[in-house]
């Protein structure tokens, strides 16, 4: 081929074509998003998301022991720790769900979130990996993740305030856009838990600029009269109506365990 380079377009025409096409494409993006938004009106309510309404009746308390402490202090909170342990095959079932954990003969790990003398045993079903830090522990199965941590709040502080604080600190605009946050819902307390609250959200998680993904999640907290509060953040590309809501059984079991002591 030759190096001939006679221009066919004038400068205004070339720029006009580029701008027109880019504007049309942007318009298509806007229209597509508008059409798609209508199909997603079904915002996950706390009930649809399946939190505990009153005392949970699951049977999934897991035995296990072992400790390793690493405690930090920050503000009004004292955070605690995680240990892991293996127990024989154990199931954790939440009422009215199809959630299963540890079915079959496979071993089920238990992890323990600990704060001082207080500890909560959490079941780690098959298919979930755990990662611990000084503050808490995350269980994840690749699509759903649950982050647990115990916090010593001031006496009399409510779970609703804890949930609100978690949501405000986590759903930062540096990482989320198109956020939809539900109002914090106070739920019926149970056992030794005197205050119990939940807030759901949905947004686009853009941590790196490499990709973006829709995310739904829940902030849940249960507080005792002493101020000891179990915080849970559930997040991921969750399908709220998914048949396999293992994550639901996990956090129900955790609160059940927390409220039983």
């Amino acid at each position: 081929m030759t190096a001939a380079a006679r221009n066919r377009l004038t400068t205004p025409v070339a720029i006009g074509i580029v701008v027109s096409v880019v504007v049309i494409v942007a318009g298509l993006g806007f229209i597509f998003a508008m059409l798609n938004e209508k199909s997603l009106d079904r915002f996950p309510s706390p009930v649809a998301a399946g939190p505990i309404d009153g005392a949970p009746t699951g049977t999934g308390v897991v035995t296990g022991s072992g400790t390793s402490t690493a405690t930090t202090v920050g503000g009004t909170t004292t955070r605690g720790v995680v240990t892991t342990n293996r127990s024989a095959s154990t199931t954790a079932r939440g009422p009215g769900t199809t959630a299963r954990a540890g079915t079959g003969t496979g071993a089920v790990r238990t992890v323990i979130v600990k704060l001082g003398e207080n500890a909560v045993k959490i079941v780690q079903p098959t298919g979930y990996a755990s990662k611990s830090s000084n503050q808490g522990i995350t269980l994840t199965n690749g699509t759903a993740s649950l982050y647990f941590h115990l916090v010593q709040r001031t006496v009399g502080s409510t779970a609703a305030a804890a949930v609100q604080a978690d949501a405000d600190s986590t759903l930062r605009s540096a990482s989320y856009s198109q956020l939809q946050r539900d109002a914090t819902s106070e739920l019926k307390p149970f056992g030794t838990v005197t205050s119990f609250a939940i807030q759901s959200y949905r947004g686009v998680w853009t941590p790196t600029g490499a990709t973006a993904r829709s995310e739904q999640g829940l902030f849940i907290a249960g507080a005792k009269s002493s101020g000891l509060t179990l915080h849970v953040q559930l997040y991921g590309a969750l399908g709220w109506s998914d048949a396999d809501q293992t994550w639901l059984a996990i956090y129900k079991q955790a609160f059940e365990e927390f409220a039983s002591n």
Binding site: N7, V23, A33, E37, L179
Partner: protein, 351 residues
């Protein structure tokens, strides 16, 4: 050495038309940033993804690349490459390695920071997949560069840019598809989106385009026919692959820093500058080859009807010239055997 990106990626532009594409990029960026400023993230991301490919297509038409037969070529390069990109991206990011990607991007336990990063996932998404990406975006231009009509280095470079920017666009649309399912208009996270959309539009597109162009230009090589998978090709492919790896590493690692998206944008611009400098070196040779070939073809009818090439540098020889215009090698001093070989189109070269 300059790293003027527009004249590098659009080597057929004159000083005047070079300026028009600078304005076109600025105008497209205004649309992209305007949408982001208005909170229309879906519109902004889509516009960012297609801006550079659209500008490049207009450029190809404007300079009449490939003499009035660009439609099939452009369709093959841009269309097929975009389809390959979309299919592969869905397959890798949304099906096969979805959990690995979640592991990489969901690592956000508040007190662990970068130590929570999964090395395996980082290796997969910042090294293995970018290598595969460069190979895949090179398929169509490599096929075309094997044909006599597009075997010049400058053709290979142009085909590579077209394929690279279209791959980047399709990949971006798939990876950011989530923005089409949220709120149409948002006020959250706009400060985050400004560097992200600029990075998608300028950084990613130009890195992909230039990296692919370098590889394909090396495949085409100098002289008659194409060089093929030579050491020179491997070297340039590796250079392009390193650029892609550096880009993706930056995106994932800077996420742990404050203002990570902004730093990632700056990092991408540094990579673009390095690639542009490398591309200028390649183009220097390519443009001289095209110019000499152009001059030679204008005088070719009186002779054998085919071009002869310098045995030293493989550049076209102008008929009746006593010296190679590129390297100065005396054509008359070339030994008979060597001269016969080069006059026949270069020894040992695919035709």
């Amino acid at each position: 050495m300059q790293f003027s990106v527009v004249s590098t990626l659009m080597p057929r532009t004159t000083r005047l038309s070079d300026t028009r594409y600078r304005f076109a990029i600025v105008a497209a960026a205004v649309v992209v940033l305007g949408c982001a400023f208005a909170g229309l993230i879906a519109a902004s991301v889509l516009a960012a993804a297609v801006s550079v490919p659209v500008i490049y297509l207009v450029y190809l038409y404007d300079v009449n690349a490939w003499e009035d037969a660009p439609v099939a070529i452009v369709a093959a390069v841009v269309g097929v490459t975009a389809v390959i990109a979309a299919v592969i991206t869905v397959l890798l990011f949304r099906v096969v390695f979805e959990e690995k990607l979640a592991e990489l991007t969901n690592s956000r336990m508040p007190d662990l920071g970068i130590s929570n990063l999964s090395a395996g996932s980082l290796l997969l998404f910042a090294v293995v997949i970018p290598l595969l990406t460069l190979a895949l975006m090179s398929i169509v231009p490599l096929v075309l560069a094997r044909t006599p009509r597009f075997d010049d280095m400058i053709d290979g470079f142009t085909l590579g840019v077209a394929a690279g920017v279209s791959y980047a666009a399709a990949e971006t649309i798939v990876l950011f598809a989530s923005v089409f399912s949220g709120e149409v208009r948002t006020t959250d996270g706009l400060g985050t989106w400004f560097p992200v959309v600029v990075n998608l539009m300028v950084g990613k597109s130009l890195i992909y385009g230039t990296a692919c162009a370098l590889a394909i230009a090396a495949f085409s090589g100098r002289g008659d026919g194409y060089d093929g998978f030579t050491r020179h090709f491997a070297k340039n492919f590796a250079f392009g692959a390193l650029a892609l790896i550096a880009y993706w590493m930056g995106l994932y690692l800077f996420a742990y820093a404050n203002f990570g998206q902004g730093i990632a944008l700056l990092w991408a611009l540094v990579i673009v500058a390095v690639l542009a400098i490398r591309a200028r070196v390649v183009l220097h040779t390519a443009i001289i080859e095209a110019a000499i070939e152009d001059a030679a073809r204008g005088r070719i009818d009186r002779h054998t009807g085919s071009l002869a090439y310098c045995g030293e540098c493989e550049m076209p020889l102008v008929p009746d010239a006593m010296f190679c215009l590129y390297c100065g090698q005396s054509v008359r001093a070339v030994p008979r055997a060597s001269g016969a070989a080069t006059a026949g189109g270069g020894e040992g070269r695919p035709s």
